[in-house]
Amino acid sequence: MATLKQLAKREERFVSGHRLCPGCGAGLIARMVMLAIEKPVIVGNATGCLEVASTIFPYSSWNVPWVHSAFENVSASLSGVEAAYRSLKKQGKIDEDVVFVAFGGDGGTYDIGLQSLSGAAERGHKMLYVCYNNQAYMNTGVQRSSATSKGAHTSTSPVGKAIPGKGQFPKDLASIMVAHNIPYVATSIPGRWNDLVNKVEKAVSFNGFTFIDVLSPCRLGWPHEPSITMEIARLAAETCIWPLYEVVEGKYRLTFRPKEKKPITEWFKLQRRFAHLLKPENQPLLEEIQKEVDTKWEALLKKCEG
């Protein structure tokens, strides 16, 4: 795996001047993913924070060919580009090895883009799909998505007398992707750069569709102090609400095991969207969420041992 000093010698392919919020997790993820790849890259970007903030007319922060079409179809658009590339290669018109990377937020991946994601995975296009998962529609005003944590306050699951935040647990998208029998699925965080860089290097070495779900701290929607973006991502892994693992050809492997599994309150207390969960009246809900996290973690450990 590349060291920081080696990475620093590479060309930046996601450059300064984008208008993501100060301390945005998506900016970190985009930079790290692009730094991890040495070959020529073509990027597709679903509608979302990253796309909106990195390509405000007439500027672009992408130093590589980049295509945007709509919210729901980055996987389909990039499938087309990849198929055209394969055809040109077959005709002998291109001989370079090109890597294809799609970026989508959780809205464009878990919800709106799920069918095109599934289609591209099933057809086996050679591309890496990176979901930068900030767990809500942050760009349009913090609406809940199917990736939002249970109990989180969002503008469409507002905490009040009627409900204590979002009522459902998040969709387990990694498992859905594993069920597509693709060669590589992983979860990651920008808080451990080596975890993310390593997984991207691995993913693009496969000849097929690969998927990495990267938790993307959002100082606006979670909200949290911007300086702790990386730390809060690490805390998600240390509390096991966002375990780090990879699934290579169907085989599960844990890539980070916390020395001591922290209670989820450690993660919740740094984010205002969960502030109500720490009040005595919401103790049962807090316990329910902790129990779910524990159950999922145990199940994951079993899969990794098996």
Binding site: L4, Y59, S60, S227, M230
Partner: protein, 99 residues
Amino acid sequence: MGDKKTGWKELPEGDILEGGSSLKFKTGNWRNRRPVHILDKCIHCFICWISCPDNAVRVDSEAGKFKEFDYDYCKGCGICAHECPTQAIEMVDEQEAEK
């Protein structure tokens, strides 16, 4: 009816932006705190460099040394200071620093 359909070659092009052109858009004026480097404490680990969402930490990659902050783009988020293992970065009030 019977009109020839427009082929893909006749369709208007979408917007095409120049790669990397956001470098022309300076985001440094968003900042209300700025990172200040304390050379004595720095171990040149490059953690701050990889931790900047705005690529505003300049390093000398050949010499393997921290160089400077690029205040044209730094938004003052403070991640670099928070992640630095030796507290070699201090966040200071922008207006104080300007004086």
